[in-house]
């Protein structure tokens, strides 16, 4: 395992920021850490990086204690900042030298994150999204085996966000493990192998998107559009359905979806159309995030 946390606990003056968190990240795996503001995501990451001490449990990073094998671990902090007087290229050259890599790679790295043209401008003149890319560029230095990315897509526009996830795909294909945090499930859905949800410092759920969807057991909505003039007739056939304007909305557990579809299909020409609407990602996320009563 690249990263292994067991019963990790951290308190800040009596308040538990992390409470018995256990999970691990395998080589090449992309794990999304989700949670509301203050859930403990940044705290967990700082502990894994060896930046702050923890109170209980065990943490193993690349087989060593946190902070012991810094060569193989890259970090992108939340709201990453740099000295405004340095140019993007100078900043990346510094980071390369400190990692023992040739500084001449700086331009290439900046080009990989789409900052080639701004490389010789001072970081003080960069937008938040551009600083975020500098942060991403430094995290790519020296083929890290574990990337810890704290809200990496905040401040990125949708196109840059897509480019960012494409970069991550390449990294994990090369065997790098990725732990990234976000407060929105919609952002990480398609691009991560596993999701870990923290709420109030506790791990409340983990698994694949499909697994979480299943575990939440939220109802599926079947939206039936009646053929012209058949609305009233359909309503009598589907008494559980709720009328919303022209349409009928039938809410049912996921395992009764097919049965209900069959019933609707049996109504034949009375039905103009049927849409199956699975629970939204936000529904699933709030389900887990609020279950523990924050």
């Amino acid at each position: 395992m690249t990263l292994k946390l067991q019963k990790l606990t951290k308190t800040y003056g009596g308040a538990k920021a992390l409470d018995g968190v256990t999970f691990s990240v395998a080589p090449g795996e992309r794990v999304a850490l989700l949670g509301h503001n203050g859930a403990g995501k940044s705290t967990l990451m700082k502990i894994v990086l060896g930046l702050i001490p923890f109170d209980g449990g065990t943490v193993s990073v690349l087989g060593a204690a946190p902070g012991a094998s810094r060569q193989g671990v890259a970090y992108l902090p939340e709201n990453v900042a740099f000295h405004p007087a340095l140019t993007g290229e100078e900043q990346i050259r510094l980071f390369l030298s400190v990692r023992g890599e040739p500084p001449r790679q700086a331009r290439d790295l900046l080009a990989r994150v789409g900052l080639h043209d701004a490389a010789s401008r001072r970081i003080g003149t960069y937008s938040k999204g551009m600083r975020q890319r500098v942060g991403l560029a430094q995290a790519l230095i020296g083929h890290p085996r574990l990337l810890i990315l704290d809200e990496p897509t905040s401040g990125l526009d949708p196109v840059s966000r897509r480019d960012f996830y494409a970069l991550l795909d390449g990294l994990s294909a090369e065997g790098a493990s990725i732990l990234l945090s976000s407060h929105a499930l919609t952002e990480v859905e398609a691009r991560t192998d596993r999701i870990v949800i923290l709420s109030g410092g506790r791990l409340v759920a983990q698994g694949s998107m499909e697994g979480l969807r299943h575990e939440a057991g939220l109802p599926v909505a079947l939206v039936v559009t009646p053929a012209t003039g058949q609305g009233g007739c359909l309503a009598t056939h589907l008494p559980q359905a709720e009328r919303v304007g022209e349409k009928l909305v039938l809410s049912c557990p996921a395992n009764q979806k097919l049965t209900n579809l069959a019933r609707i299909a049996a109504l034949g020409p009375k039905v103009a159309d049927v849409d199956v609407i699975p629970p939204s990602l936000e529904d699933i996320y709030s389900h887990f995030s609020k279950r523990d009563g924050q």
Partner: protein, 273 residues
Amino acid sequence: MTAILALALAEFRIGIRNRWLAIAVGLMMLFALVLSAAGSGPTGSLGVDRLSVTVASLTSLSVYLVPLMALLMSFDAVAGEVERGTLPLILTYPVSRAQLLAGKALAHLGILTLALVAGFGAAGGLAFALDGQAAQGLPALIRLTLSSVALGATFLGLGYAISARARRPSGAAGLAIGLWLVAVVLYDLGLLAAVVADNGGAFTLQVFPLTLLANPADAFRLYNLSASQATAAAAGVSAAAGAVPVLWSALSVALWPALAFALALISFRKVLP
């Protein structure tokens, strides 16, 4: 080592871009030239060459200016990184906190040294141009330059320690100015008061020289005055200069930088990002 050099290079660049290099060099040259021009009157009568007299006044200048410049350059070193939020990231890189501090110190000391060499060089050049005997004062000028670099290093280290303890740049700035006032102004005033009150008793004879050695600024002044031929031309603590062996003050000047950096490192290690 490459890491330290790379860190120092970046810090040096920052020093150039926020005008620290220009300000430090400009200040040193201005004051050094003004002092050496002003001290040109009574040389011949004392039987001392012009450069030695200049060194005596430059010593007084250094005592005030070098700690001030060093503290102004260093107070932001850790607190500024904490406030900007740049510290957590660099701490996840494979460098130790000692290396981080060494990189900053190398750059800041480089800037300070350039300023000292420029200022003292200009003053020395002026003395040579006006007095054929000025070469006699050359060893004193070299001693002054080296000990000024050591004095700068001491206050850089103390500045880093303050910066790490204060956590905020505004607090660190206040503490830095406070330290400067105490070390180069109030300490001497206090000693003077004690000496006057003691009226030639045990304090003046035994404790006073030690208290001078304990303060890096006083040790610096003591070293340059007692080692130099220009003692007679100097005012102030010159009486004590005779009482303390040169070796002691030299030792204090040389040990303080190490002590200050140890203090800085201990304080920096306590900073949680």
